[in-house]
Amino acid sequence: MNMGFSQIVSYFLLVLLLYSCNGESQRLRYQMYEDIEGAYACFRRLNGTHQFGCSSSRSGNVGVVHIIENQADSDWLVSNGLAGPYVAVVHPSMFTRSLLLTLQSSGKVNGVVMINNSSAEKPLHFSHEDTCPNRYSGLSQLYGQTCSVGEKSGWNPHGTSVLLMDWKFPIFYVTDKSHIDHLYKCYQKHNAVAHPGEQLERALCALELKSHMYAAVNSKKCMKRNNYQTLFSQVNSCDPLGGRNVWQTLFPRSTHQLGNGLDQRSSKQTEANGSIAVLAARMDSTSMFDGLVPASIGAVSGIVTLISTAQLLFRMIPQQENYDKNVLFLLLAGESYDYIGSSRIVFDMKQGTFPVKPDPSVAQPPPIGLQHIGPFIELSQLKKPADGQPLYVHRLEDSSEVKNFIKILQRNGNGLGVPISDKLPASRNLPPASLQTFLAERPDIPGLVLTEHAAQYSNNYYHSVFDDTASLNYIYANKSEVPNDSIQAYLANVSTTIAHSLYEHVTNKEYLGSLTADKNLMDELLHCYLEQNNCSLFQSAVAGSSEGEEKPLSYYVGVSHVYSLVSILTGAAMALLTGSPTKFNETDCHNNASTDQVYQYIWVSSQWNNSSSPKVCLQTTMNFSSAVSPAFIIDGYDMASGKYSTWTESVWPELTARMFLKPPFYQEVITLVLGIVVLGLSFAGVFYINGRKEILFSPGASTEDERAPLIRTNDQVFC
C-alpha cells in the first residue's frame, strides 16, 4: 500500500465510510504484526508455600527469535548472542530441564516457545512431572514421602519436574503449521547470520509473548490478597483449583421409604462396615500448557473403563434384587494436584456429609463413612500391555479381603484374556493413587490399584501434552467391527472382568450369564473422550444442548467455580448409560420430577449411539459432589501445613503471542536524535527570525495597515 499524502485524506475517510463494516483493514498494524493464534501458554500455579510456572511482564516479553535445534544453537545463544534479549524457539526433543535452566541463567532469554514441527518425531519421553507425583500428599502423612526413601527413579522415571519450578520467563507452545512456517521463514530471512555482530545492524525477527500473571508468592499470600479489594483492584489474583466429583451407587440408598413405585428395594438405614465396594478412577490430569491436556493414558483409560463397568454391572444386576452390599462408583476431580477430590471426600466422610449434607426433612442418601468402605478398587493408567503381559495389582497390605478379591479378579480375568498379576513391586509402596488419601485416614481399608505398569510407569508422556491418542494406539472403528487386538476390545474385557468380579462380590455367587461389556460402546467412549467431544454419545447425554466441540477434551481440573466440561459430560454419560426410563416429559423432568435427594432426573436421547432418537427422562442415582480442597473451607487453616491440597491458579488478563520485525537499536537512536535536533533547530531558527522580523519582512514599510503591531491586546475589544 502506498502512502501518497494527499491521497491519504480521501482514502482515510473512504475507508471509514465504506470498509468499516467490511472488516478488511489496511491499517498499518496488520502489516507489522502477525498474531500467533492457537498458541498454548504456560501459566502460574501456586500451592501453600511456593509458586510454579511462568509469567511475563505486564506489557509482554519481547525477544529476538533464535531457533534451537541442537546443542550448538543453544551454545551460540548463551555465549555469542549480542542482539538480546532473545526468545528461544525450541523443538520438543531439545525442550529439557537443563536447557531451560541454561537459558534462564544466561540472562539473555526473555521467553521460550516450543514448536511442534510435525516433520520432527515425538521425543521418546517427555514428562514434566516429578519423578514421584504427589510426593508430599496421600500416604506421606504416614511415611514421610510417598516414594520409598532408597528409590532413585520413582514411579515416573523420566520426570523432569519442570512443572514444579518457577520460571522467570513465559513459555508458549505453538502447533499451527502455517505460523511455524512463517516463523522459520522470518528467521532465515532476517536473523540467521554468520557473525553475531551482524545481528546488531539489521532489523530482526522478534516475538512478543504476553502471559502476565496476577498472583505471586504462594496460595496463602494471594488468597489473602484476594480480600484486599479496593476501588481500583476488584479482580481476584488467584482461584483455588477444584471441580466436582461424579459419584453413583449401584443400588439407591435412602433415609426414608420412597413410595414412587420404581423403587422396589427397601431402604437401608444402617449398613454394615465394609459393605460398600468402591470403584474409583481419576478424571483429571495436567500439563505445562493451558488448554492442552490430552491425558489418554493418564485419565481417559480409567474413565472409560469405569463407565463401561458401571453400565455392564447395571445390566447384570436387576434393580429389584435385594443385596446387603452396594457398589459406589467414584470419578474424582483434581487428583493430580495433591488429591483434591479424594481428600475432600475423605473429609466429608469424616464429617458425615458425604454424599449430601444431612437434612432430616427430605429423603436423601444416608452418610457414607470410611468404615463402610469394603474393597476399594482404583483404575489407573490402563493401556494394552505388550503381548501376554498382565495387569498389576498394587496394594499396601495383603489382608484376607484383598487377597480374596484379587483371586476373584484373576479367575475372571483369565477367562477373558486379561491376565492379572499379584506380584508386588520391590518397593512395596502404592503408586500415586487416590486410594492413598483413604488409607492415610484409615489404613485398614482393603484397597488395590489396578494398573498396566509394574514398578514404574510405562507411560513416557505422563502429565504432558504428548499423552494423546497415539499413546493408546487407538483407531476409531465407527460402528464397524472392532478388532480383537485393539485397545477398545482390551478395555472392554477389563471392564467385563471387573464387573463380573464385583457381581461376585455383591451377590456372593459366580456370574454364570453371558453379558459382557459392549465393544462398540467402548469404541464410542474412547472416541468421545479422545477425539471429539461433540460425538453422538455426549450429544445424546445432554439431549443436544450444544455442549462440546469438534476437538478432544482438556483434562485439567481448572478452577473450582467453573465446572469443567469433563465432569459435566462424564456425569451425563454415566446417567445416560445406567439410568432407568420414566414417563416424565421435558418440563417435568427439569422441574417437578425430583422430589427427594436420592434420585436425579435428566433429559436425554434414549439411544446412546443415536442422538436424534426420541428423548426420554431418565432416573438415576448419579450425582455430583464438591471437589474443593478442605484447605479453602476450614476457617484458619494453615496453608503451610501440607495436610490438604492448597493448589490455586493465577488469574491472567490475556495469553497472546505475536511476531514482528524489531528495528536495530542504532536506528532508533538516530531517529530520536534526528527528531530532537530538528526540534531544537526549529526553535532556534524561529526564535531568531521572530526577533528580526521587522528587518526581514517589509523593509521598505509601505502602508500603515501592514505595519500594524503584530500583537494587540484585545481585552478591550472582545472581553
Binding site: 505486564r58 505471586a216 508468592v217 489473602k224 479496593t230 489474583s237 493465577s650
Partner: protein, 101 residues
C-alpha cells in the same frame, strides 16, 4: 491574587494563617509559606511587619524540611522492606503490584 499588589499587613496575616494551618498535618502550607514570603522576609528593605513575617517564614521552612525528611525516609524504608514485612506490608500497600511479591 497577585502578591505584588497585596498590602503588608495582609501579607503578615496570610503568613500567620499559613503557619497556623500547617500544624493540621499540612506541611505543604508551610512550604508554600516559605516560598511565597521568602523575598518579603529577607530580600526587601526593612518594613514594619518584616520581623514577624521572617519569624513565620523561618518556622514554616523548618517545619517543611522536617516533614520532607520524615516522608522521604518513610518512603525509602517502605519501598525497601515492604516485601519482607509480609502481611503487614500488604496491609499498608494501597495498590498491590500484580504478579510480584
Amino acid at each position: 491574587m497577585d502578591l505584588s499588589k497585596v498590602k503588608d499587613d495582609r501579607k503578615l496575616e496570610l503568613s500567620r494563617w499559613y503557619f497556623r494551618g500547617g500544624w493540621a498535618f499540612l506541611p505543604f502550607l508551610w512550604a508554600v509559606n516559605f516560598v511565597w514570603f521568602y523575598k518579603d522576609a529577607f530580600k526587601r528593605p526593612p518594613f514594619e511587619e518584616q520581623s514577624q513575617i521572617r519569624k513565620y517564614v523561618i518556622y514554616s521552612g523548618i517545619g517543611a524540611l522536617i516533614w520532607s525528611i520524615a516522608l522521604i525516609t518513610w518512603n525509602i524504608i517502605f519501598q525497601k522492606y515492604r516485601v519482607e514485612w509480609g502481611d503487614l506490608g500488604d496491609e499498608l500497600t494501597f495498590l498491590i503490584p500484580s504478579g510480584s511479591p
